[in-house]
Symmetry: C2
Subunit: 355 residues, 2 copies
Amino acid sequence: MKRNNQTGSQRRAKFAPQSRPTIKDIAQRCGVHPSTVSRALSTVMHHLVAEDVARRIQAAATALGYRPNVTAAGLRTGRSGLIGVLAPDIADPSFPPILGGLAETLNAAGYATIVVDVGPQRSQRELVNQLVSRGVDGLVLASVTLNDPVIKHCIDASIPVVLVSRTDAGRRLPSVVTDDEAGIRLAVEHLVSLGHRRIGHVAGPSDVSTGVLRRASFVASTARAGLSARETMIETAQAYARMAGRLAALRLLERKAPPTAIIAANDLLAFGTYDALAARGLNCPKDVSVVGHNDMPYVDMLSPPLTSVRIAQRDMGEQAAQLLLERIAHPVLRRSHIVLKPTLILRGSTAAPGR
Amino acid sequence: MKRNNQTGSQRRAKFAPQSRPTIKDIAQRCGVHPSTVSRALSTVMHHLVAEDVARRIQAAATALGYRPNVTAAGLRTGRSGLIGVLAPDIADPSFPPILGGLAETLNAAGYATIVVDVGPQRSQRELVNQLVSRGVDGLVLASVTLNDPVIKHCIDASIPVVLVSRTDAGRRLPSVVTDDEAGIRLAVEHLVSLGHRRIGHVAGPSDVSTGVLRRASFVASTARAGLSARETMIETAQAYARMAGRLAALRLLERKAPPTAIIAANDLLAFGTYDALAARGLNCPKDVSVVGHNDMPYVDMLSPPLTSVRIAQRDMGEQAAQLLLERIAHPVLRRSHIVLKPTLILRGSTAAPGR
DNA sequence: ATGAAAGCGCTAACAG
DNA sequence: CTGTTAGCGCTTTCAT
């Protein structure tokens, strides 16, 4: 049952781009023209070929272990079947679910994804260019800042793009995000209903949409709940990272009238807030309640289990993929911004103010 | 300052594979032959072209915003610059660090990675075939089972492959793994030194190397420490997942002489063990000590903070990438198996046996 | 140092 | 229904 390598090895004398059987090998073996093979193997052109010939070709293909060279096909058709994904930080546990939703939907449509972790300082422009060089058919950006130059770059290059998780300031590109306003409102209302009045916010970076929108919602929601500006306080974290959250939370706790509850703009910042409380010998939730955002996997295992705003990450990924597929099919720049509703998951980190 | 699209749009009358400038456009603009442009833009062939011509070409390239089509280049050279990575579960927080190490090293060498999440039931063979269809230059498998048919498939197809995290039974492919034997031995010695004698093991799935090796080490290490077979007990989890860990741990706790300490084959199983203890109203570490494995990010935030065997994930990724690059350069099947030393990180989940 | 020519594997327009 | 022809964008002989 050993395979015949003859045809494969004779060809390609000078350079050896591919050692697997090609459409030509099958054609030769079946005594037909390569294009007939191409047609027989294509689902869409399949009907143009005689039943029995098609069967013979199929058989030969499997016998030779033929695998189409999608790269070559792509060169011809101009579509690579590749989607580039730019992620802010793969190590952030809130990202995998989004990626899961993205990949599943895109795979189902025949696309593969190239995920690139945008490092701290790396230029997204350059990364986009590299992906374009690879011929990606579309881009998912999970990493944009509010006035990111990459937005204009993508628009100029007229690449199908969808933003996920974050939007740009001008809403120039289609996006799928969570309702940041609603998420923080839920958190504020919950804390106020527990009796908190001095509430602090560990805000996310001010150059990303989630950071500013959640912050704005904190201001608006606390005001609507009747809290005075003096009772509410905000410290901004430099990054969505545990250490940055710790530093910001420490600043909140140093105030003369420190908060009895802290809303963190994301769970990693909430982790840092836990650290800050521990460092100050404060108990959560007895001394200070904490609410996170994103409801990362396993935050129920913390001590205390983290009350957090759950966002539909997987859904977000799926919808973004869907939007991108539409965009690829119809490159019209109709704006569409999908906003998903969050829910508040109550756990042990919030309680009525102590004392 | 608007770009001249003439050349780009005139060409390609019938189909429109690419709307960006090509090597031809530059050649035309500079009054040279396309091959000269190719040479001028290639770092290795660059010396074959006159200094000033090269400069003119470079200038034209940047002016037009030229991006080489690596797909076309790949078709010609037979190398795509793509590496496929098969992951068992992207959502598992121990994976991102490995991926980080992989991607960084491979990117530095000019490769991009396509990460594919091997779902529960999906055939790895088929996924490998899809990646081969995409022309990947090499494969990193983080997902192999002990007698995985995909191994033979890859060997037969003579694709450069490196295993990471797990090995196959026959050690037929190069691999980078942690020293499973040493990791569990550290855990056992630690617990024995604390005074534990009845120790349980929540073993990983018996079809993956980490599962059986850690289990074997548990048996050997406890024996070497002088524990009898009656004092040690093992329950196997069906998967590296929290729920599976919970079920296995519950079985351990149901024994007539339950363990005073449990070593989980990985942190996710340790999470499940925490759940089981909580369900039985037992305190960790007072009633039962727990040791995890992998030292996932943020396990220090659990209650109690998880004592865990730390493995050098990032390093693992880097070394695997290195190995793969060598393998691509020299496809000789010299076996090389890199084993990284783990360390035990002591935290609050282990203490002397209670009462 | 440069141009000419060929071709990687595949698909699609055009004939018949 | 099938063969012919052409060519995607690029690299690499082979001649100058």
